[in-house]
Amino acid sequence: MPPSHARHLVAEVLDKQIVDAKKHKLGKVDGLVIVLRDGKPPRVAYIECGAAVVARRLGRWCERLVLALNRRLGVRDEPRYRIAWSKVTKIDINVEVDVDEYPLLALEEWLREHIVGRIPFSK
């Protein structure tokens, strides 16, 4: 994002839809990571997303539950995903990011491979 562009993080970024350059929906902005620096203003480092991130907003118990489920099912290693703020290319009705890997879609792919793809007429 251009540095001169003022943003109200909670109103304009948090909980928005994340899309890639082709408008594929990748998830929502579930969290924001801000780095505090000595003698300098804090800096927005990442947008965060994933089941464990939203779960934490409901409480620690919920986060632990999601992490336990995740380990049990073996969907992926880390149900938190961080996208560097520098990868955010546009904020309008969506938050557009420039990424070339899709760990956010791990659950979608796992379900596609293990369940949906095995049901007839799904392709």
Binding site: D15, K25, K28, R57, L58, L107, I115, I119, S122
Partner: protein, 408 residues
């Protein structure tokens, strides 16, 4: 021109698919049998409120390009948005079970084969249609078949109702004797719950966003909301009136679904029975489609997944699995032997209870400049919606325990 035609189609489809469904048929038939025309006002009140809500949901989509679920999460945050979503899913689960029960009853009337044999095949059929079909094909075919429900209007008119008391019942409550007043108010809120179905509002909102509505579509949106929902209300009133003529005049109370099936027989003779069966099956199927999709849409929108009915299931794995799980879970109560009529009536009253939670956040968005700019709600729309949903919710909170104590 083409776009406003499409838009009207969405409204009429939403109305035929979602308005007259098992809840409206059951509550309207019970109301007519027990209180003659005394509860028509609750259909009218519910419909006026629903017209405002449908119009608002189209307006939100056209101006902000957000579906309701997206906008609620964005404005109020995930930690709030999850609660109305969970409440709505729980109610949708019960209502979907009731609709599937309604389809099975319709098929029983048509074929004579008992309801319980139909439950699993119907659930499989519903799932299969959603799995392979596209939205347009599914919705167009159910809404064309849904025109069968005009039979209720024909029957109601043929039985020569008393127009004056009917009109009086449409504008104000006709207070029953004290001993019946608990049941009267319970039925009133069940009717309002059956009329203001939050799933219709969510379904319409997702359709409008997918069709890419813009500011220029607002006039057509207004017309669609009024015409589509009034059409649905007319059918509900017809069921109530026909039921009043058939059952109330003979002093019969409705306690089983099979009784309702007789409602068309005096007017349409031997055609009445099969037409009732077919009309019930079709309109419940339309509603079941809308509930399944509305639930999957709003879960997907809350979590930011890809959503849409027109892609193959492998491309929308989480979305497709959501409605799959919901459909097969929803038949568990019927399979366990829960009475479908009781489930229907209770889930309609439950809908009324959760209305403030489901509707209020949405109403706040329609008053928020960052979402709708200059197209904010006027005082009339706000007032009608707030009064209706709170009244319905409070009466339901009082009437449901009374009905459960009194009914058992």
């Amino acid at each position: 021109m083409k776009s406003s035609f499409l838009q009207m189609a969405l409204g009429i489809i939403t109305a035929i698919g979602g308005f007259l469904e098992v809840g409206s048929v059951a509550t309207a038939a019970q109301a007519g049998a027990s209180h003659r025309y005394g509860l028509i006002w609750s259909i009218v009140l519910g419909t006026v409120c629903l017209i405002f809500l449908i119009e608002m949901s189209g307006r939100l989509a056209a101006i902000s390009r957000h579906t309701i679920a997206d906008a609620v999460r964005e404005r109020f945050g995930f930690d709030f948005a999850i609660w109305p979503r969970l409440a709505e899913l729980l109610v949708n689960f019960l209502v979907l079970g009731a609709e599937i029960g309604g389809i099975c009853l319709g098929l029983k009337v048509l074929t004579g084969i008992d309801t319980r044999w139909w439950v699993v095949p119907v659930a499989l059929f519903l799932w299969f249609v959603l799995w392979v079909g596209t939205l347009n094909v599914i919705e167009n075919s159910t809404s064309i078949l849904g025109l069968l429900t005009i039979a209720f209007v024909v029957a109601a008119v043929k039985m020569h109702p008393d127009w004056l008391p009917l009109a009086r019942g449409a504008v104000a409550p006709v207070f029953p004797p004290r001993s019946e007043s608990g049941h009267y108010w319970f039925t009133a809120v069940s009717i309002i719950g059956a009329t203001i179905s939050p799933y219709m509002v969510y379904f319409y909102s997702s359709g409008a966003v997918e069709d890419g509505w813009r500011e220029k579509d607002l006039p057509a949106n207004r017309v669609t909301a009024v015409v589509g929902m009034s059409f649905g209300a007319l059918m509900s009133i017809a069921v109530l009136v026909a039921s009043a003529e058939v059952f109330h005049s003979r002093g019969i109370d409705i306690s089983r679904y099979e009784q309702i099936a007789l409602v068309l027989t005096p007017a349409l003779h031997r055609w009445g029975w099969p037409i009732f069966g077919a009309a019930l099956a079709v309109c419940c199927f339309g509603a079941a489609v809308e509930i399944s999709l509305a639930s999957a849409y709003s879960v997907a929108q809350t979590f930011g997944w890809n959503w849409g009915e027109d892609e193959k299931p492998v491309k929308r794995a989480r979305f497709s699995l959501t409605y799959t799980i919901l459909i097969f879970l929803s038949i568990v109560p019927i399979l366990l032997g829960v009475d479908p009529l009781k489930q229907t009536i209770v889930s309609m009253a439950l809908t009324a209870i959760i209305l403030p939670l489901a509707i209020l956040p949405f109403l706040l968005l329609l008053n928020d400049e960052t979402f709708v700019g200059t197209h904010r709600n006027g005082p009339i729309g706000n007032t009608v919606v707030v009064i209706t949903i709170f009244l319905a919710s409070i009466i339901a909170l009082v009437a449901v325990p009374l009905e459960i104590i009194g009914g058992s």
